[in-house]
């Protein structure tokens, strides 16, 4: 009885937060999903469009290209902003005076993506950009980078990795520092080589941190907007557009709110799927 009463009190305390979540998250989700089935230009009343907006997301060449670019961002982030920091963290973990390295790698993480994008846009500019001026000193001339659709997405992924790398490195280092040494030492005594110890002992013990880093990386890369928008507005044309930029462009530039909402739903589903395992892990942790 006492326990049930406590549960009721706990629930009462939860109500304000639940109302807030309901209003700020659930209502927009439902409304956006509803708009995904409509044609609406903001000015005139919405009209029913069925699933045509969802069909367009997967059949319009510009949106397919945006989907492809988003996949590049996800893969680039997983490889260079998750796997690579893990590798560097494993190496740094053996270095005694590693604070300076932590600091150097962490500094870009203190910038907002917009500031990082402006900084790199200026650095890479063909007119008085720092990189071009530097290369000029050595007699090397390069073509404009950001307006080159063959490379600009990869360059911008590089900017993102530059910014995101440090925080992941720190997280992995924290994880590695908290791993108990006994199981590792026991494995080595039993004849495991360093590679085996890393993959079979250290990596499984790092799982909670790894899940956090991976989920964070996936979510941020799937909804990537700031860097490609600030650096080249998803251009030239629509060449470097990500799904998040398509969402913005279709909704607020072309005023196709229905199509924009359908893209938003697709991005949300992708994000949910990407973070599903992480959410499950959190649940398991709590039950344990």
């Amino acid at each position: 009885m006492e326990r049930r009463g406590k549960l009721r009190t706990d629930t009462l305390f939860l109500i304000p937060a639940m109302v807030f979540v309901l209003m700020s998250e659930l209502v927009p989700i439902v409304y956006t999903t509803y708009l995904g089935f409509m044609d609406w230009d903001i000015i005139n009343p919405p009209k029913w469009a069925g699933i045509s907006n969802y069909v367009k997301v997967f059949s319009t060449p510009e949106l397919i290209n945006a989907l492809k670019n988003t996949i590049y961002w996800v893969l680039g982030t997983l490889i260079f902003a998750v796997a690579f920091p893990l590798f560097i963290a494993a190496l740094l973990n053996r270095v005694k005076r590693r604070t300076i390295f932590k600091l150097i790698f962490f500094i870009p993480s203190t910038l907002s993506p917009t500031v990082a994008a402006i900084f790199w846009r200026r650095t890479l500019a063909s007119q008085k950009g720092a990189l071009v001026s530097l290369l000029d000193l050595f007699g090397v001339q390069i073509q404009p980078i950001l307006t080159n659709p063959q490379i600009n997405t990869f360059v911008m992924i590089g900017v993102w990795v530059w910014q995101f790398f440090g925080i992941n490195l720190i997280l992995f280092l924290v994880g590695l520092e908290t791993i108990p040494q006994e199981p590792v030492e026991a494995a080595m005594i039993d004849g495991a080589n360093p590679r085996q110890a890393f993959f079979r002992i250290i990596l499984p013990l790092l799982k909670p941190i790894s899940m956090l880093v991976i989920a964070n990386a996936l979510i941020n890369s799937i909804r990537m907007f700031d860097i490609p928008w600030v650096m080249i507005q998803g251009g030239p044309g629509r060449a470097s557009e990500t799904l998040a930029i398509s969402l913005y462009r279709e909704s607020f530039l072309l005023f196709k709110m229905g199509l924009g909402s359908a893209i938003a739903v697709v991005i949300s589903i992708m994000t949910l799927l990407a973070s599903y395992r992480y959410i499950l892990t959190l649940g398991k942790g709590r039950r344990a």
Binding site: S126, Q127, P144, I232, G235, P236, L253, F255
Partner: protein, 440 residues
Amino acid sequence: MKKTILLVMVITLAIMMVFGLAYAGGEKKGAEKEAAEKAPEKAPTEIREIKLYHDNPEWQSFWEEMGEASAQDIGVRAVPTAFETQVYKSRIKVDLPTSRAPSVFKWWFGYRAFELMKAGLLADLSDVWAKVEKNYPPGIKEALTIDGVPYALPFNVGYWVWFYSKAVYKKYNLSLPKTWDEFMKQLEFLKSKGVYGIGNTIGKSRWTSFIVPMELIYRVDADFYVRLMNGKAHYTDPEAVKAMEIWKEMLEKGYFAPMDATYVEDLPRMLKEGTLAYAPFGDWYGGILQQQGLFPEQDYGVFIPPPITPRGKDSIILEISPLCAGKNSPDLEAAKEWYVWYAGKHSAQILWEKLRFVNTVHITADEIKKGDPTLAHEMDLIKNYPNKMIRFWEATPVEIVEYAVDAFNTMLVHPNQYMVLLKGIEEKAKEVWPKYGVNY
């Protein structure tokens, strides 16, 4: 609907041609003597604030100065907020149906204003015009009128010309090309000297990609341009294809400045330094050049390139930037007082001194000649171009413009895709025109 739009455009153009709209330019009119423009002797004690939205961050300080001046003169301060153009378009559309609607906002006329008018989001400014019409040259009010209702006051009425670098002309002892072939030969020569020919770039500005293709299309055939804008011609017609082929050749020959250069910061510097020869823009660009430290006739001049075919002669592009008022703005009455002030002499003087804009009769031809000899020269030049056509951005439906702008952006980096891109625009036009009652 189609008829309304066509009618508005035809009337506008006809009136402009008849009255030679342009700038007040000429003699001072009696209206000038009238008191509307006089600042009150006593500064008002109570200051009311109204919202003013615009999409030119480079002009924010100008608008702040205007706000202070109106606060001093009539007790209404227009508080400016600058937005990036893409953000701006959506912000205006989102705010206009609500009580957050700005009292004053810069917009574009033609199709872009028509959709707002049709949705009942623009305030009727007839009562303002009744007080200030005498301050404007003939034809201006009509140019800003839809279905008999004036919805705006002019912010800028300008023409599209090509700014050229005096440094480049002086260094290579050049003279202005008289034929299209001469122009192309000159660009080839400049390239051989390491000078960029044309500054038409997309660094920080997506919209600028339409400038050169439209400059080419109407120089191939001005009548075709008008028909294209009105859904009477096709983007895959030989005239459009020819213009795109010329553009492709120019791009492939490397006549353009690096595409990531910005038109506010980089191009002015390049014109001044003599690393860039030409920059095609509306004459408002002169104000930007001067803000960036360039002097008219000393650092830059203007010229109008020759036609490509005889069917492209005597033609020039006209741009009208209006200031509109949100019908749902809670400060509409104060905004109307501000508009009356805006049409007065004090405001005209600030517009002239800061941006080199001349919309009213308050600025005389002598002042223009003294303050901006390049603009005065342009005023003389355009007298030879009686066929004034509305700019692409306003002249054709928004959906086609936005799609085409992206296609032209792609063209800048993939010139050989011109036919695919034209077909894409044509498909979009086929989809859009019927919505406007045009059998495309």
